[in-house]
């Protein structure tokens, strides 16, 4: 099995080394005439305005965290569902065990996804005003934030 992993590694290594090799090879053939206009950041022909680093909405980070949880779930489900057919051949109760464990796992996280859907947390555009109803009467955290009078939406 190490031989096969070594084959896979050879593929990844070759693919990762290809860009530097191609670029270095090309550097012997390419011209190089640096000019102020060529070295400035491209902004549709105008001079760049402001810093190149934007302040991002935290929805990207939220998508990444939700993805992470579901990614772990998918990765852990791979070995379990792989032996589902084997478990069916062994007997009914083993198959029931595998099935129920795997889908309990999937179902719990799916319920989490439904909760987020209902409270509007996975919407890309969140509306602060309507969400009061979604939070089941507004928990203590919401009241504290609203009282401070600051809108940080």
């Amino acid at each position: 099995m190490l031989q096969e992993l070594g084959n896979a590694f050879a593929f990844v290594l070759l693919a990762a080394l290809l860009p530097p090799i191609i670029l270095v090879l090309g550097s012997f053939f390419r011209p190089s005439f640096p000019h102020e206009g060529k070295l400035t950041t491209y902004e549709c022909g105008e001079m760049p305005v402001g810093s190149a680093y934007l302040m991002f909405n935290n929805r990207f980070y939220l998508v990444a965290i939700v993805f992470l949880v579901f990614d772990v779930e998918v990765a852990l489900l791979f070995p379990i569902l792989m032996l589902f057919r084997e478990a069916i051949e062994i007997g009914g109760s083993t198959a029931l065990q595998v099935f129920s464990l795997a889908f309990a796992f999937l179902g719990v996280l799916f319920v989490g996804l439904i909760y987020e859907w209902k409270t509007g947390d996975i919407d890309w555009v969140k509306d602060a005003v309507d969400r009061k109803d979604a939070m089941l009467g507004g928990g203590p955290i919401a009241k504290v934030e609203a009282k401070s009078g600051e809108n940080i939406a």
Partner: protein, 173 residues
């Protein structure tokens, strides 16, 4: 020296180097990039030890998930690129001594082991055994993991909620 040993040595050096730069590099973006090196080298070590499933899971979860989260967090922090993270030498004393104690412990442990005659065994594929373990002896910790994941999921979205605009509060400061 077998090719596997060379590979393990390479992964080891890459991992240590990556960890070093992650901890000490003043530019935070480069520190995050060095974390890629460390995580990929750990995946390589798993592969060299015959844990094929774990190596691929490490790549999917750590490099494809956690590193994206870290990079998003770095990119979204305000003005983080202007900061130079350099600590005073005094702050290194306690962590360095803790690391030294752990290192001495591991070194004395490895001295007691028998390293002679270790050849690379013929590895078996591990995914099926992991599957049986997860539904058999380790089923209960597996379901605990589910609950922890759910807590993480809900906690993240609760923290990220925008403030509720309470209309009858008006200009209250």
């Amino acid at each position: 020296m077998a090719l596997v040993d060379l590979f393990v040595a390479f992964c080891f050096l890459l991992g240590i180097g990556g960890a070093f730069f992650t901890a000490f590099h003043p530019n935070i973006m480069y520190a995050a990039i060095s974390l890629i090196m460390t995580l990929v080298s750990v995946a390589g070590l798993y592969g060299a030890l015959g844990a094929d499933f774990l190596a691929a899971a490490q790549l999917i979860i750590y490099v494809g998930g956690i590193l994206i989260v870290i990079l998003f967090a770095v990119m979204m922090s305000q003005d983080i690129y202007k900061k130079r993270f350099a600590e005073s030498a005094r702050k290194y004393i306690l962590p360095a001594s803790a690391s030294l104690i752990i290192f001495l412990g591991l070194a004395s442990l490895s001295r007691k082991m028998d390293w002679s005659g270790s050849t690379t065994p013929d590895f078996e594929p591990t995914a099926r055994a992991m599957g049986w373990a997860l539904v058999g002896p380790y089923a209960v910790p597996f379901q605990y993991v589910v609950v922890v994941l759910l807590v993480g999921l809900i906690g993240a979205v609760v923290i990220a909620r925008p403030a509720i605009k309470n209309e009858d509060e008006g200009a209250d400061s």
